[in-house]
């Protein structure tokens, strides 16, 4: 399976993502934001970081970069696209997934492990996943998911919420909501569920001795799903 990770000026999780994808069997290529064409890929990843220094709004500049025309076309034709952290912000700014990511409710940069509940399996990202509560890492200042009430209704009607912040037992409430996101939303799909944006970093949980193994579970399952 072939994957491509897009590097924007200011991306800093692109190489981590490359390591993670390669570790679990993807043939990964790095793609520069100023390129126009994507290599043949089964999965495109927009990595975390601080593209364009988070100027104007996080992800807003990167969403207008040259390669994004190809990424948008790839997504519209059904290709799998995953945006992590800043990549999620780029996805909302490009309109590929609904809503926006506001400044964290308590105005703090949050860097810690969180648990997320997978509540949606009719998609290539989480289908067949044995574990329903995963421990991932978050590190962001603008991860407070927001959308209008009309959008929220549409998102819920279409079953587009991918993961929720929760505790280790899967309970979602205000105490397990790190950043003020509506409904504890940590990740969301487009309507067709081939585009996933999420704040947590699975690529930071692929080594038991360094962090944890739940990212490994996620990537192994992802590879199996799209084989």
């Amino acid at each position: 399976m072939k994957s491509s990770v897009i590097t924007f000026p200011g991306s800093n999780c692109d190489r981590d993502m490359d390591v993670a994808l390669s570790k679990f069997g993807f043939k990964n290529k790095m793609v520069w934001h100023n390129d126009q064409e994507l290599p043949k890929s089964d999965l495109i990843v927009l990595p975390g970081g601080f593209s364009y220094g988070d100027y104007l709004r996080c992800g807003s500049m990167a969403s207008k970069s040259k390669i994004m025309h190809s990424v948008i076309n790839f997504a519209k034709s059904g290709g799998l696209v995953m945006g992590i952290c800043n990549g999620f912000q780029i996805l909302v700014e490009s309109g590929l997934v609904p809503g926006v990511l506001l400044r964290n409710k308590y105005l703090q940069f949050i860097c810690k492990n969180v648990h997320v509940k997978v509540d949606n399996e009719e998609n290539s990202f989480f289908k067949n996943l044995d574990k329903k509560v995963l421990e991932f890492h978050i590190a962001h200042n603008e991860g407070n998911y927001f959308c209008t009430s009309d959008q929220l209704k549409e998102i819920e009607d279409n079953n587009q919420i991918a993961i929720y912040y929760c505790d280790k037992n899967g309970n979602t409430n205000d105490q397990t909501n790190p950043n003020g996101s509506i409904k504890n939303i940590a990740g969301i799909f487009n309507k067709e569920k081939n585009v996933l944006g999420m704040m947590p970093h699975p690529e930071r949980m692929i080594d038991e001795s360094l962090s944890g193994e739940d990212g490994s579970i996620f990537f192994k399952n992802l590879l199996n799903n799209i084989k």
């Binding site: 409710k105 105005l107 927001f146 959008q151």
Partner: protein
């Protein structure tokens, strides 16, 4: 020609920065503040001398990049 645009958060969008500024003002003795909402201001010098065309151009910039219409409103406030 210079055109300015002001971007403000929509009414029902939480503005934690505005809230903190409000609380700080309150602590400084400015007790008559009802609410503070923080926004953005842009001065754009465009290569266009027709005021209407210049405004239309900046309006298009607001819609496509400067504002995120899910959470923000824009207002073109002056033309020089």
């Amino acid at each position: 020609m210079k055109v300015s645009a002001v971007i403000t958060l929509k009414k029902d969008v939480l503005d934690p920065q505005g809230k903190v500024i409000h609380e700080t003002l309150d602590g400084m003795g400015f007790n008559s503040v009802n609410e503070v909402r923080q926004g953005k201001y842009f001065e754009i010098d465009v290569k266009e001398n027709d005021p209407k065309k210049a405004k239309d151009l900046v309006e298009s910039m607001c819609k496509k990049l400067l504002a995120n219409l899910v959470i923000e409103n824009y207002k073109i406030i002056e033309t020089q």
